[in-house]
Subunit: 150 residues, 2 copies
DNA sequence: GTGATTGCAAATCTTTTGCACTAAA
DNA sequence: TTTAGTGCAAAAGATTTGCAATCAC
């Protein structure tokens, strides 16, 4: 990969990936990449990321947030997780892992992946139907808060 | 609307469950229940069930199909499965089991549940986060390229 | 009759798209 | 320049909701 300017360093991850995928490192993409990839794994919805960008003083349209999230996903920088109809979550953690879904809060939480202590293991997977190939196995552990909420 | 024969046997399952839940066995609910519960396990979307009802000569509005699917779910007659944002699937199979999701066809397929030969087993489940209780563990095996039809 | 249920259309919500404008390269 | 990317607003789905008409009990 090509050398990076000092002022670009924070974006190194995003920049590199964008260049590899032929995506121009625009102000919006870099800003969103920074929100997403600086500071640990995250699970965001388009709406949430858009709001966060606004609070951080980054001007980006919601349409661009959607486009960017999908471009990042296609570029292998994000992973999409479906936990309930209606919303789409994007996960910055690309490792093999699964999720807790806090139903009441509509919030995702990582479960450590394979290799980690206490990692989930799925056994007894049946053969994939003829002509099909395995893409991914998602395990969603749905939990509810014990706080009363009828 | 044509009166229903109260002694109709095919509706026994639906009728009983509706009565237990205090839901009036209306023409629409009984007709949808019949489509859903007669003839094996099914995975339907509201739109699909609505179309099926129309083809069978049952007049039901889409809004009522949505309402009914949710009422059935609340009554424990159906289970909701989320596999991708956008659509909601309802599963008539209430046994403990998991799913293949055929991405290309947007189709769900049951994987035999616990107890069956070759059933999926999930090991190493971490403790549920403090204050939360386990609701359900969903395993979605995403596959592509199958030409199989349901 | 009385209250639950339905249907329709309008309203929401999330996501996508068309297109003129702006900005990388 | 040249072409990709952006923003806005309108469009497109999927689902919900308000309310008058209708049905079950």
């Amino acid at each position: 990969m090509p050398p990076l300017n000092p002022h670009e360093r924070p974006y190194a991850h995003t920049l590199t990936a964008l260049r590899e995928k032929g995506l121009r490192p625009t102000r919006q993409r870099l800003a969103l990449g920074r929100l997403l990839f600086e500071g640990g794994n995250r699970h965001v919805t388009a709406e949430a990321l858009h709001g966060e960008a606004a609070q951080t003083g980054v001007k980006v349209s919601l349409a661009t947030v959607y486009n960017t999230l999908h471009q990042f996903t296609d570029a292998g920088l994000l992973r999409q997780v479906a936990v309930d109809g209606g919303r789409t979550y994007f996960d910055t953690n690309l490792d093999d892992h699964h999720h807790f879904y806090h139903v009441d809060e509509a919030r995702l939480e990582d479960i450590p992946g394979i290799g980690a202590a206490g990692a989930i293991e799925v056994h007894g997977l049946p053969d994939v139907p003829q002509g099909a190939r395995l893409e991914r196995v998602d395990v969603i552990v749905r939990v509810r808060g014990s706080k009363a909420e009828a």
